[in-house]
């Protein structure tokens, strides 16, 4: 009995000591620098992970970012559990109201690539929006379909079933991809629509970029969509997409740059930042599935001063970290729009 008692006390004491010392260890780290936490988009994470050490050096800001998905980023900042949220989809009117005086600022620019696994093709696949949406609607099911042949007269297209692969989790990439398909195909817009998760009528779902990539690499005849940085680092072959100028464009920096070349001289609202399927005047290299990604910040919080510093740094100096990761630096007009929005972050 006594022994058990002693043991219990010893255990309790140990737990208490562990708790106290844990707190003590954590405390100085928190007070040393200003710390900011953010959550959301995994699309932008490669870039943010480069920013973390740089912004720590520049301002002593201890930045923590967890990649939880765009929806979680919006939810997190709405509930004020984080200092900022990151989302690849701009906030809907309802979400903006729910967030209560939040500003949405574009802070990175990249593209979605279309990797595929078709053996013995003998060249790069060319595809257009109509064909792509018909594949995801289940109307084109074989690689030797006339519609694909017409776009690729030089390729030896096999008699092979097309397996469209999609993200089963919510993702900004899905938002960007369905945004494109919805704008090129009215049938896709009415039957499936545009969101971070949609109800694809056909295909196989997989979780995360790694999941879809895994399925595509193991399934002959598969095709999918992932952010271009992921495609490049994993050495996937991806398709050239036909743009409004009638040329086939690749998701490189030049392709993304041309895609934003026709933005208005003065950007005044987020709706002008929709850059999928850019007009013919954008140029022959304009890649049709490009997207801005956004940071969402409450205008009146205790950390507003630091967040303002961080976002300002991100849209200016932070952009130089982009090109190696296939993030095209923001165009000046968008930067100007971002400054005006950043000014609204006033603090309490």
């Amino acid at each position: 009995m006594k022994k058990a008692l002693v043991a219990t006390f010893a255990l309790a004491a140990l737990v208490a000591i562990a708790l106290v010392s844990g707190r003590a260890a954590a405390a100085p780290a928190a007070t040393q620098d200003t710390s900011l936490t953010g959550t959301g988009s995994s699309f932008v994470f490669p870039l943010v992970s480069k920013w973390i050490p740089a912004v720590g050096q520049a301002y002593g800001i201890n930045l923590t970012y967890s990649l939880t998905g765009s929806g979680a980023g919006i939810a997190g900042v709405t509930a004020r559990t984080v200092d900022f949220g990151a989302s690849d989809a701009p906030l809907s009117a309802d979400q903006l109201t729910a967030c209560k005086s939040c500003v949405v600022i574009p802070w990175a620019l990249s593209a979605t690539s279309i990797p595929y696994n078709v053996p013995g093709l003998g060249g790069r696949l060319r595809i257009d929006g109509a064909t792509l949406s018909n594949i995801y609607l289940g109307k084109i099911t074989n690689w030797n379909d006339a519609a694909i042949k017409k776009l690729n007269p030089k390729l030896s297209l096999p008699n092979l079933k097309i397996t469209p692969v999609f993200r089963s989790d919510s993702s900004g990439t899905t938002y960007n991809f369905t945004e494109y398909l919805s704008s090129v195909s009215s049938e896709f817009r009415s039957k499936v629509g545009n969101n971070t998760a949609v109800n694809f009528p056909t295909g196989v779902g997989a979780r995360g970029s790694a999941g879809v990539a895994g399925v595509v690499s193991k399934t002959e005849g598969a095709l999918t969509y992932v952010d271009v940085a992921y495609s490049l680092t994993n050495h996937f072959t991806f398709a050239a997409i036909k743009n409004r100028a009638g040329a086939y464009a690749l998701p490189g920096l030049r392709g993304i740059k041309q895609a934003v070349s026709q933005l208005p001289k003065k950007v005044t609202s987020l709706s002008q930042l929709k850059i999928v399927d850019p007009p013919k005047s954008a140029g022959k290299q304009a890649y049709p599935i490009s997207t801005f990604t956004y940071v969402i910040v409450p205008t009146n919080s205790k950390s507003a001063g630091d967040v303002r510093k961080l976002v300002y740094w991100a849209v200016t100096q932070g952009q130089q970290f982009g090109p190696p990761l296939l993030f095209q630096p923001l165009p000046v007009t968008v930067q100007a729009f971002a400054y005006r929005e950043i000014k609204k972050i006033q603090g309490v």
């Binding site: 219990t8 989809a89 989790d169 949609v198």
Partner: protein, 326 residues
Amino acid sequence: MSTIDDSAAPGAGLAGTGLERRGLRLGDTLFRGVALAASAGSAFLLGWIAFKVLDLAWPSIEEFGLSFIWTDAWDPVTEQFGALAFVYGTALTSAIALVLAVPISIGIALFLTELAPRRVAAPIATMVELLAAIPSVVLGLWGILVFGPWVAQHLEPLLQNYLGFLPIFSGSPSQAGILPAALVLTIMIVPIASAICRELFLRVPRDLTDGALALGSTRWESIRGVTLAYAAPGIAAAVLLGLGRAFGEAIAVTQVIGGGNSINVSWFATGDTLASRIASQYQGATSQLQAGSILYLAAILMAISLVTNVVAQVIVRRFEKARRAA
């Protein structure tokens, strides 16, 4: 002097025992307090979690009502949500997994306890149990990269060849779908179920099996008549434990089931389970209604798990009663 001494000695003794007694009482109270707090805490936690899940699911419960459970829809764009496809997926994958896992587990356990020489049995038992130590996310990755393609290229064509007349084996083979998910679940259930069964078989009294053998029954007859009969309630409990695992497994299933939104007759087609859908879409839910609907799925999953647990206890108790009567 002597009187003082006399009175002092028992007095000191009394004081000593008094302290001792007080110490004991303090220990008892403390122990009782800690135990009470722990059990009350866990009961409170269960209630609180259940309440919170329902609370957060409220937007969806208000919108769709009970018909959510038998509606087959999941469209975040038009905000139409229903649970039927996921309830179906959960029930089907778990059922397939159990039907496969139970005989395998009992087979392994019987082999290890009755047939295998001890030198062989011990390492095999350890290895089977180590199978349970593979994190489910790793098993899921293996599912994507190795097992799924194997199922699509070899197992499913084989099934289609011989049993293709059954609608469940129709359609084109796919590396992500109901069947690969059910098989991954089977792999996850077997180590747990077989470990429990082995423990059960080891506890069957030796004299009972010896008696059966002495009466002239064969090995199989003694296993069937004595070992399995004696362990039956335990086996039932093990099965239900496995079922619980199958219901709740999210990550490994998400990785191999293909995230389909509708009900398909074919086992080769994609589908989804309650747990998998919660894991894959909660974090990215774009609207209150979608987040609420996912929590509604969570509430359904909790209810199903609760019912399974209660049923398990009822079965075990009935078996116990029957055995005592016999």
